[in-house]
C-alpha cells in the first residue's frame, strides 16, 4: 500500500512540477516580449548576439549544407537515372532543401551550436549570481541579458537556413552538373518551373523563422531556469539540445501539415 501511495505521490509531484515549469515558461515568454522593446533601442547588444549566434555558426552551416547537397545530388541521381529522368535532379535537390532539409537541419545545427552556448552563458551568469547582481543595480536581466540573445537567435535562424539551402543547391549542382554531367539548362529550368516562390520558398522561410523562435526561447529559458550549480547548468544544456530537437521535428510536422495540405 505504501508503495502504491509513494508511486502516486511521485507521479503527482512530477506532473505538477512539469505544469509549473510550463506555466513559468509561458509567463517568461510574455515578459521577454514585454521587455524586448529596449533591445531594439540598444542595437549594439543585439548586434553582439547576432554575431555570436549567426556569424559564428556560419562555417558549420555552410559546410554541412554543402555536404547535404552533395549527398542529395549523388543519391537523387542514382534513383532518378533508373527512370530516365536525371534532369529532374535540380527539382529534387531544391524542393527537398527549401521545403524540409534547409529549415530542419539548419535548426538542429543551430540548436546544438548556438542554443547550447546561450543556455550555458545564461546558466553560468545565474550560477555566479550575476543576474541577481544586475537586479540589485536596477538593471533588468530580462531586458539586458535574455532578450538580446533571444532576438539574436530569431534573426539569425532564417538567414542561416537560407544559406544552408543555397549551399545545398550549389552542392547538388556540383555533383549533378559538374561531375556527372546532367544538362545545365535542364537542371536550372526544371528547378525554376517546379519550385514556387510562395508555396515552397516562403513556406520554408516561415518554417525557419518559427524554429528560430522555438530554439531561442528554449535556450534562454533553460538557462534562466537552470539550477545554479555546475551540474544544474550542464543538465540545462542537455535539456536545451534535446528539447529543441524534439520541438523542431514536432513543429515541422505541424507546419508541414498546414502548408502542404493540398498534396
Amino acid at each position: 500500500m505504501d508503495k502504491v501511495q509513494g508511486f502516486l505521490v511521485g507521479l503527482g509531484s512530477r506532473v505538477t512540477d512539469r505544469l509549473w515549469r510550463l506555466g513559468f515558461a509561458a509567463r517568461f515568454f510574455v515578459m521577454l516580449l514585454v521587455y524586448s522593446g529596449q533591445t531594439f533601442l540598444r542595437p549594439h547588444l543585439l548586434l553582439r548576439e547576432i554575431w555570436f549566434s549567426g556569424v559564428l555558426s556560419l562555417i558549420i552551416i555552410l559546410v554541412s549544407g554543402l555536404f547535404v547537397g552533395l549527398v542529395l545530388g549523388l543519391q537523387g541521381y542514382d534513383t532518378l537515372q533508373r527512370y530516365g529522368s536525371s534532369e529532374a535532379l535540380g527539382v529534387l535537390v531544391a524542393l527537398s532543401l527549401v521545403r524540409e532539409l534547409g529549415p530542419v537541419v539548419a535548426g538542429l545545427l543551430f540548436a546544438s551550436r548556438a542554443g547550447s552556448a546561450v543556455t550555458a552563458e545564461i546558466g553560468l551568469m545565474k550560477a555566479t549570481e550575476q543576474l541577481k547582481a544586475m537586479d540589485m543595480m536596477a538593471v533588468n536581466p530580462l531586458a539586458r541579458v535574455v532578450a538580446p540573445r533571444f532576438w539574436g537567435g530569431v534573426i539569425s535562424m532564417p538567414l542561416l537556413a537560407a544559406l544552408f539551402s543555397m549551399m545545398g543547391v550549389f552542392g547538388g549542382y556540383l555533383i549533378g552538373v559538374v561531375f556527372i554531367g546532367v544538362d545545365e539548362g535542364a537542371f536550372w529550368s526544371q528547378m525554376q518551373s517546379s519550385v514556387d516562390f510562395r508555396e515552397d520558398v516562403l513556406n520554408g522561410i516561415i518554417k525557419s523563422f518559427v524554429f528560430g523562435i522555438a530554439v531561442s526561447l528554449i535556450a534562454v529559458f533553460e538557462g534562466y531556469d537552470s539550477i545554479p550549480t555546475a551540474e544544474g547548468v550542464s543538465r540545462a544544456i542537455t535539456r536545451t539540445v534535446v528539447t529543441s530537437a524534439l520541438a523542431i521535428l514536432a513543429l515541422d510536422f505541424v507546419l508541414t501539415s498546414f502548408m502542404f495540405r493540398s498534396l
Partner: protein, 156 residues
C-alpha cells in the same frame, strides 16, 4: 559610439543571408516569371480534365500565357468548368481551340490554346467553345486492343 569589427561581421552575415534568400527566390524559385501583372478570366468546359490541377500552366505555342485559376464540376451539364487567368497582353480569337495536353510522357498536364483565324477576339469572362478533353491512357489502350481484335487474325 564607434564602428567596430563586430559590426562589419554582422553586416557581412546579414548581407550574405539576404543574398541567399534572393538566390532562393529568383534562381531556385520562379518569382520573376510566374506572376502575371494583370490577367483576365477565360472559361472552358471539358468532358474530362484528366489530371489537370489548379495553378497548372496555360500555354499557347509552348509559351506560358496564363494559369488555371479554378476547376469545378457543373452539375447541370456534367462537365468540368475550368477558369483560367490569362495575361492581358495576349488576346485570342473567338475560335480558339482549348485542349488538355501532357508535357512529356509522365509530365504535368496543361491547357494548350490553338489559335484559330477568327477576326473577333475573346472578351474577359468568355467561354471557349471548342475544347478537347484529356487523353485517358486506359481508354486509348482499350480502343487500340478492340481495333486489333476486330481486324481478326492476321494472314500469314
Amino acid at each position: 559610439m564607434n564602428r567596430t569589427v563586430l559590426d562589419l561581421w554582422v553586416g557581412f552575415f546579414v548581407a550574405i543571408g539576404i543574398a541567399a534568400l534572393l538566390f532562393l527566390a529568383l534562381k531556385v524559385g520562379n518569382l520573376s516569371s510566374a506572376n502575371f501583372a494583370e490577367t483576365y478570366v477565360l472559361q472552358a468546359k471539358f468532358d474530362n480534365i484528366g489530371g489537370l490541377k489548379v495553378r497548372g500552366p496555360v500555354k499557347s505555342a509552348g509559351v506560358v500565357v496564363g494559369r488555371v485559376a479554378n476547376i469545378h464540376f457543373d452539375p447541370a451539364t456534367y462537365e468540368a468548368v475550368v477558369s483560367m487567368n490569362v495575361d492581358t497582353r495576349y488576346r485570342f480569337p473567338k475560335d480558339t481551340f482549348a485542349s488538355i495536353l501532357t508535357s512529356g510522357l509522365l509530365g504535368e498536364q496543361y491547357i494548350g490554346l490553338d489559335v484559330g483565324g477568327d477576326e473577333k477576339m475573346l472578351k474577359p469572362g468568355d467561354v471557349i467553345a471548342k475544347t478537347q478533353s484529356a487523353v485517358v491512357l486506359e481508354k486509348l489502350i482499350s480502343q487500340f486492343l478492340f481495333n486489333k481484335a476486330s481486324e481478326g487474325p492476321e494472314k500469314k
